[in-house]
Amino acid sequence: MIIAEQKSLEEIRRVIAPYEKVLLLGCGTCVTVCGAGGEREVAFLHSALRVAQAKSHDGVHNFSECTVKRQCDFEFLDVLEDKVNEVDTVLSLSCGIGVQVVAERFPDIPVLPGVNTSFMGMAKEWGVWDERCAACGDCRLAETAGICPVTRCTKGILNGPCAGTKDGKCEANKDMDCAWILIYKRLERLQQLEKMRRYYPPRNFRVIPRPRRIVVRADVESGGDNG
C-alpha cells in the first residue's frame, strides 16, 4: 500500500492561489486507506479551505470536489472530463502517480499535488503507518528472515547492526525497532543464524535506473519509450 500524507494547508493554499476554480480530486484506493486523500479527507480539506478563505476575506476560490476509485489509470478519469473542463486547476490528493496520470490525461489543465507520497507500508494499528519496502529492486528478504534491512535500518546496511542499537531500538529514533536486532532474533528462531554470518557485498544500485518499467506481456520488449 502506498502511504501518503496530506500537505499542510498553507502549502496547499499557496499552490492554488493563482487559480479561481479548483477541483479537489480524491482517490479511492491507497490514499483513502491511509487517510490522506479519500472522500472524507477531500470533504475535510474542502471545509478547511473554505474556513481559511472566510477568515482571510480573500474569497477568490470556488471549490468543487470529487473522488474517483483510482487516479493511476486513465479509464477511471474519463468521468472527470466535464468537471475538469469547468475548473482552472485540479488539486489531486492522490499519490505522485495519480497526480501525473491526471496531468497526462488532461494536458490543458494544471494539476497540483495535495499530498506528499511518503512510502510503501502497512498499518501498524489505527492511524499509525510503517514503511516496509523501499522498492530497491533487489530483494534480500530471503536472507534476512523476511525483515528488510534496506527499509527498516536507517542506514540500510547489510552485514549486521551498527553499534548504535540500544534496547533493541535504533540510534536515529528510540521509538523505532533496530531492524538488525529483529533479523537476528527471527533468524535465531528459524535456526538460520548462518545467514547472518555470511558476508553480503555492497548493493547493486544498477537495478534501479530511473524511471523503471516492468513489462509482463510476452509480445513487448522491455525498455524503449519510457516517457
Binding site: T154, C162, G164, E171, I181, Y199, P202
Partner: protein, 293 residues
C-alpha cells in the same frame, strides 16, 4: 612487514595507547594543532574523527595530514555516511599517497543525530564492505574490478561494542570485520571491566589487537546525557553514581580518576592490548589521565 609505525607497534607486544581528536567546526585549526602537539609524543597514535555524531566539521583526512605535519601518527577514521563507493576509494588512495595508512573503518552515525538532519544518508557501503574494499585496493583492484596504477597499503582497524545490551549480533559482525581484514579494534566506551574481560575471553581466539575505549566523563549529567543521546554509549549506573557523589566542580577530576583507574587496571591485569582514550572535546586533559595511569 608493517605499513606504519603504529602497525609496527601492533606487531610488538607493547601496551598501546591511542587517543582521538575532533577537528574544528571551521577553518581555524590552531587549537587542533595545539592538541596534536600536546599529545603526539604521549600516545602511539591519534585518531581523527570523521564528522563525529554526524556534526559537520573539518575533514578527518585533513586532520590526519595535520597530525602528520606535526610529526604525529594519525589513524584516519572513515565513515560510509557521506560518501559513496567512488568517493571512499578516492579518499583512501589520497590518504595512502600522503602517508596516512592507519584507517579505522566505520559505518558512521545516523544523519538524524547530527546537525544536518535533512542531508541524504549515503551508506552505499557498510563497515564490513569498507574493510573489504580497502583490501581490494591493496590487491590492486578497485570495486569495479579495474586495475589500479599503484596499489595502496593500509593498516586497517574497526570498532566493536563489547558492552552492547544485545551482544550476539555484535559478535557476529565483529567476526565479519576480522575476516574482512581488520588488524586492530578500538572498542566503544568501556564502563564495566567485567564485560571487557568477558569479551576478551571470546576475542582472544582471533589474531587481532583490542584497544579498550576509555571515555572521560566530566559529570553525572554528562554521563546521563551521553547515555540517552550518543549512539553506542551505555554507561553503567555505578559510574554515574560515582560521579554524582562528588562535590560540585570536582566532577571532571573524578572523571579523570575513573579513566586512569580503568587504564591502570587494564594495563596491570593485562586485560587487553591497549587503550583508546576519548576525551570528547577535552583533548587537553589526556596527558593528565595518562600520567595518572
Amino acid at each position: 612487514m608493517a605499513n606504519s609505525l603504529f602497525e609496527e607497534k601492533l606487531n610488538s607486544n607493547e601496551f598501546l595507547v591511542t587517543t582521538e581528536i575532533g577537528p574544528p567546526k571551521g577553518a581555524d585549526v590552531s587549537e587542533m594543532v595545539h592538541h596534536i602537539d600536546l599529545l603526539k609524543d604521549k600516545v602511539d597514535a591519534i585518531n581523527v574523527t570523521d564528522h563525529q555524531s554526524s556534526v559537520m566539521r573539518f575533514p578527518s583526512l585533513g586532520g590526519c595530514l595535520l597530525v602528520k605535519e606535526c610529526g604525529g601518527e594519525p589513524i584516519y577514521q572513515v565513515t560510509c555516511r557521506d560518501r559513496n563507493r567512488l568517493a571512499l576509494q578516492a579518499d583512501l588512495l589520497m590518504a595512502y599517497s600522503r602517508g596516512v595508512t592507519n584507517v579505522l573503518c566505520l559505518t558512521g552515525d545516523s544523519v538524524d543525530v547530527g546537525d544536518h538532519k535533512e542531508a541524504k544518508p549515503v551508506f552505499d557501503l557498510d563497515s564490513v564492505q569498507l574493510l573489504r574494499m580497502a583490501r581490494e585496493l591493496e590487491a590492486g583492484k578497485d570495486m569495479g574490478g579495474n586495475e589500479l596504477k599503484g596499489a595502496p597499503q593500509f593498516c586497517l582497524g574497526a570498532s566493536v561494542h563489547p558492552e552492547a545490551d544485545f551482544i550476539e549480533p555484535q559478535l557476529i559482525k565483529f567476526e565479519k570485520k576480522v575476516t574482512a581484514g581488520a588488524r586492530f579494534f578500538q572498542t566503544q566506551g568501556i564502563f564495566d571491566l567485567e564485560s571487557l574481560k568477558k569479551f576478551m575471553q571470546y576475542a582472544s581466539q582471533f589474531n587481532v589487537k583490542i584497544l579498550a575505549g576509555i571515555i572521560v566523563l566530566a559529570s553525572a549529567r554528562m554521563a546521563q546525557y551521553m547515555n540517552d543521546n550518543v549512539p553506542g554509549i551505555i554507561i553503567s549506573q555505578a559510574i554515574i553514581d560515582e560521579l554524582a557523589n562528588v562535590e560540585k566542580g570536582k566532577g571532571l577530576q573524578k572523571g579523570i580518576d575513573i579513566a586512569s583507574r580503568f587504564i591502570k587496571t587494564i594495563k596491570e591485569e593485562n586485560l587487553c592490548h591497549g587503550v583508546h582514550v576519548m576525551a570528547v572535546g577535552r583533548e587537553g586533559i589526556v596527558p593528565d589521565i595518562l600520567a595518572a595511569a
